[in-house]
């Protein structure tokens, strides 16, 4: 065990950082797309069905297939990491989008009415009332997305994007369970840590009723 760790330790650390980078970049991108999109859907609710539907379909694509689909796209360039980040972003969209939409739509009508009636502009209403009140919902979506993507990111190794999946794939190929675990255990710990930290943040943002 000790020998194994001393042999693979630094590699596990590097791959964990790579894993974090893939997931983190995808989360930021997904949030940058899905939160504004969710807000826009609350302004044009007739689009909510179709748009959330598309995000839903994206999520049902098996992850291995998704990485495969994205491989030939020229604008993703040659860097495998970009492909992985694009795929992970696609998976993260739905939970964030849905929670942003539901979080804002779920605000008590009297509160929205008051915000309009006291003369807040649309922008002020969004930033001073709607987003703060929906924040814990949005964060819950972000948390679901993060935990899912930490898992899915292990598949990124299949397209050569690195991350902890590399150890898992190598272990499977060489029938070495220690290598599989060396990838799987840190990935699971990452997911748990992300869940814990974002969960705390979510509780802190929750508005008492």
């Amino acid at each position: 065990m000790m020998r194994f760790l001393s042999q693979y330790g630094s590699q596990i650390a590097t791959l964990t950082l790579e894993h974090l980078w893939l997931t983190g970049a995808a989360m930021l991108l997904a949030a940058a797309i899905a939160i504004p999109a969710g807000v826009w859907l609350t302004r044009s609710p007739r689009w909510a069905g179709p748009v959330i539907g598309i995000a839903n379909v994206l999520q049902t694509i098996p992850s291995l297939a998704m990485f495969g689909f994205l491989l030939p796209l020229p604008w993703l360039g040659e860097r495998a990491a970009r492909i992985a980040i694009a795929a992970l972003t696609a998976y993260a969209l739905l939970p964030i989008l849905r929670n942003t939409y539901a979080g804002i739509r779920g605000i008590e009508p009297a509160v929205i009415e008051a915000a309009e009636a006291i003369g807040l502009t649309r922008r002020q209403r969004l930033f001073k009332v709607e987003l703060p009140l929906a924040a814990s919902f949005i964060l819950a979506g972000l948390r679901t997305a993060t935990v899912t993507c930490v898992g899915i990111a292990t598949i990124a190794a299949a397209v050569g994007a690195g991350g902890l999946g590399e150890l898992i794939f190598r272990g499977v190929a060489s029938i070495d369970n220690r290598l599989v675990l060396a990838g799987a255990v840190p990935a699971a710990l990452l997911a748990l840590a992300a869940d814990g930290v974002l969960g705390l943040l979510e509780r802190w943002l929750r508005v008492p009723a």
Binding site: V111, E113, A117, V129
Partner: protein
């Protein structure tokens, strides 16, 4: 008595409102609320009184006619600017649950970009005016307040930018009778000092008699009477009689328990 030709603070000119399904909620209502006076819009649920109220701050745009505030059509300018000059109090208070009492009260000023110190000072002044100890309530959140306290904060928020007009939509409708009476007393005292133009929607006849200079009775989207409190009680118009009768059923000695007593005190 001399009459000065000031434009009424709020004027409804033949205002009607129809839903897209063809149902008509308001049928050509013409009504004027004089500056500094309190008008109660009285009527049963569904009579259109709230709809009429909401045309004033453009929460609803009438499908016919015109609403004038200070002589200008409300649809002419910018909605947010119009609304900042009109206080609005609703039944559920509609306080922002994520903001302290202080920030709730100061929100209109915050939206106008006024400095923090000015907002805080104004908030203290207003909390005291609506009967809440500023230091005890400033930092509380809405969920830490009782229903009556929330309405007081809602009223303070509506008054924050010192608007000349106050719209109140059944502000005390959800409160128990004792709390409601306290609120009515507080409001009457406050209005006597501030001289706001007030449009108050209520279905409570006593409240209308106690607070209003004029009572406008609405029935099925039409204005059926516009009378002073005294005349309202004495009117022989069938809709008015029906409303008064419906309200004083519990009184054995005939109709003057609250309305009369308070009214006597109301008219100096």
């Amino acid at each position: 008595m001399e009459r000065v030709a000031v434009p009424a603070a709020i004027e409804f000119r033949n205002v009607s409102y129809a839903l897209s399904n063809g149902r008509t909620i308001l049928h050509g209502i013409s009504l004027a609320v004089e500056e500094g006076s309190v008008m109660a819009l009285l009527g049963r649920s569904g009579s259109g009184k709230t709809t009429l109220l909401r045309t004033v701050n453009r929460m609803i745009a009438p499908t016919g006619g015109q609403v004038l505030v200070g002589g200008a059509d409300v649809l002419a300018g910018d909605a947010a600017t119009l609304r900042r000059g009109i206080g609005y109090v609703i039944q559920e208070a509609g306080l922002f649950p994520h903001c302290t009492v202080e920030r709730n009260v100061g929100m209109v000023l915050e939206a106008q970009g006024r400095p923090r110190a000015e907002r805080d000072a104004r908030c203290r002044e207003l909390l005291a005016a609506v009967g809440l100890e500023p230091d005890a309530f400033r930092t509380r959140y809405p969920h830490q307040l009782s229903g009556g306290q929330r309405q007081r904060v809602g009223l303070a928020r509506a008054l924050a930018a010192d608007p000349p007009i106050l719209l109140m939509d059944e502000p005390f409708g959800a409160l128990d009778p004792l709390t409601r009476a306290e609120m009515q007393d507080m409001l009457r005292g406050l209005l006597a000092k501030l001289r706001k133009t007030v449009l108050l929607v209520t279905h409570d006849l006593d409240e209308a008699l106690y607070l209003a200079d004029t009572i406008a009775l609405m029935h099925e989207g039409r204005l059926v009477a516009e009378l002073g409190p005294e005349e309202f009680l004495g009117s022989e118009q069938p809709e008015v009689v029906a409303y008064v009768k419906a309200f004083h059923r519990g009184e054995k000695s005939g109709g003057d328990r609250n309305g009369g007593e308070r009214r006597a005190e109301a008219q100096p």
